[in-house]
């Protein structure tokens, strides 16, 4: 499906993708929203810039974006994979509960807010560059990796993990001096501890043709919440 500068309603695009059995290539995409919403199978390749809520409620399909994404990529995603060959806007993977998202470059504010895990279902977000404020806010499970491929000083920003009560955030950085909320435990990853995360780093390297060795070099910090019941003491029965 080639857009040629024409605008299509989200429903037309999604109907065309479904008619093609889930496998489709969309060319010259320019801000069309809700692409591949809830899609269960197939591979959708997008050239251009898809609009907000790309792959919302995604349920098993794969989306490959040859360009940048906008806001709410993978909102409430349940299963499948999203690969973005560029950067994305705010609220990446809001309330995601399964599947994997790989972003080659940077992500905006509030990535991975509310992501949660249960049993086998464990969402993973891999960010190649850096992340904006409120990364992993209210995070209840799952894994976020910030690989900091450009080796910047602050790969994460203020309020990372605020309200977090489950899951893990792994950040590659020389020294983590970002202001972190006090309920977040920050610990340097030692020796073999990185092994748990290397499969995802490897997958990132393979997806984007990056050098695995360079991405695992240097220090890593692991952020986890210090309690899964953060609000227990706040209340008095009346």
């Amino acid at each position: 499906m080639k857009f040629n500068g024409k605008t299509y309603a989200a429903k037309e695009i999604n109907d065309a993708i479904k008619a093609a059995g889930g496998d489709a290539t969309l060319k010259e995409v320019l801000g069309e929203r809700f692409i591949a919403c809830g899609l269960k199978s197939g591979v959708v390749t997008i050239e251009g810039t898809p609009g907000n809520a790309l792959g919302a409620y995604l349920d098993g399909a794969e989306i490959r974006v040859r360009g940048n994404g906008q806001d709410a990529v993978g909102d409430t995603m349940n299963d499948g994979k999203i690969v973005v060959f560029g950067s994305v806007g705010d609220t990446l993977g809001y309330a995601m509960r399964g599947g994997k998202i790989f972003v080659r470059d940077n992500v905006g504010y509030r990535a991975g807010v509310h992501i949660k895990e249960y049993g086998e279902k464990k969402p993973v977000i891999v960010i190649g560059g850096r992340a904006g404020c409120f990364l992993g806010e209210y995070m209840a499970g799952g894994l976020i990796l910030v690989l900091n491929k450009e080796n910047v000083k602050d790969p994460i920003d203020d309020y990372t993990g605020v309200g977090m009560y489950g899951g893990k955030i792994l950040v590659r950085a020389h020294l983590l001096d970002t202001l972190l909320p006090k309920q977040i435990k920050c610990k340097r990853v030692e020796g073999q501890e990185l092994a748990e995360f290397t499969p995802y780093i490897k997958e990132y390297a393979e997806e984007f043709g990056a050098e695995f060795a360079a991405l695992t070099k240097g220090d890593f910090y692991l952020l986890t919440p210090d309690s899964s019941n953060p609000y227990k003491r706040l209340y008095t029965n009346n």
Partner: protein, 501 residues
Amino acid sequence: MIDFNVAPFEVVRDYDKCVNCRVCERQCSNEVHHYEEGFGKMISDSTKCVDCQRCVCLCPTKALKIVPNQNSFRPNANWQQKYLTEIYKQAESGGVLLSSMGNPEPFPVYFDKILINASQVTNPSIDPLREPMETRVFLGAKPQTLQRDEKGNIVTKLPPRLKLSMPVMFSAMSYGSISYNAHAALARAAEKLGIYYNTGEGGLHKDFYKYSANTVVQVASGRFGVHKDYLESGAAIEIKIGQGAKPGIGGHLPGAKIVGDVSKTRMIPEGSDAVSPAPHHDIYSIEDLRQLVYSIKEATEYKKPVIVKIAAVHNVAAIASGIARSGADIIAIDGFRGGTGAAPTRIRDNVGIPIELALGSVDQRLREENIRDNVSLVVAGSIRCSSDVVKAICLGADAVYIGSAALVSMGCHLCRTCNLGKCNWGIATQRPDLVKRLNPDLAAERLINMLTGWNHEIQEMMGGMGINSIEALRGNRLMLRGVGLNERELQVLGIKHAGEV
């Protein structure tokens, strides 16, 4: 530390009637009663009593009653006993006061100051036992213009709607805040009655997918249990922005209640808290709301109406006006008396506005802007009886949600301690021994009985007004008169005072 508090209730036992059968002891999860071997009689610890009336109802000899504790602090019209008690509690714990169910404070109940009309002489009333009386309603957007295809035929394809046999639905109560058996009862009753129940934001237990034709599934900020199959499994999808009992703040199910199937249904680990914060962090504007509405519609192929639920707050009319333009099909508005499984006391008792005033102003605003038919209005918090339903419809509602009334029909006595998780009636608890006290078949039957009665009463009142279709009652403010209301209140409600023609 000395406990400054006194028991709010007193357990009174008539020892002439008590036969030491110990039913009260077995029934009380708060461990108020016990048999004292030495004395050879039952002893009660009133300090633990929450006045749920379970022991009173089950005592075979009717030997028990629970009365307000007559012990009194020195009376003070300003410093009422409750304020002292609450200070003592906070001075001990440093915590935020947590309460349950709707606002119990003596604010005006506008439904009680509104009266319904009836026909005399000039326009005959209708006997609902003899003549057809229509209480069926459809919820959803209503097209404002006729459309014709190329051949000139009228296009009859309508936006997705909900069909209700009567203008009442069960409002959102999550599996977690109430028990499996309570949910089962609501689902079965909704199916039998031809209405809908609402999952709340805790996801949908796999056993209840079979009731999907009568289910409204909820999507809240935490998005617990939300996935494509869940969205597909509802007849409608409700985006929860706010709740009448706690406008502006979020939901929080403590880890202690995230056990077994609740954990599985919400899809979070056992013992972990479930936090739904106040805002959806991807909705900061009506445009953002529109995006969520349409992402849901895309995911469900425009087959299901989308409800947006908000709490009644000061500028509710302007907010509703925005929602009516967001693509939502139904707006649900929850008044400040709406129930809850747990809310901070100060919020519950002081935030929000009465549903009657919110409804009056929203309906008038949407009509003025000519967008009333973009959406249906469903109101809640609190609808206690069939005349409340009739008054709400006359004030502009298409239907109402009932929560507390539904729980009361199942046995709830509004003891307002849902937050303790030890509900003796098996409703607001996850403790298996307590949950099994609620028989879902009997509870469903009680729900059906109550609403069947309400429906008869609604028909009687409609017939009395000479109206045979609920559609003709909607927004029919001429059928209402206020008593003891001032000019401004009447204006907001859009009704005249009793005695005015």
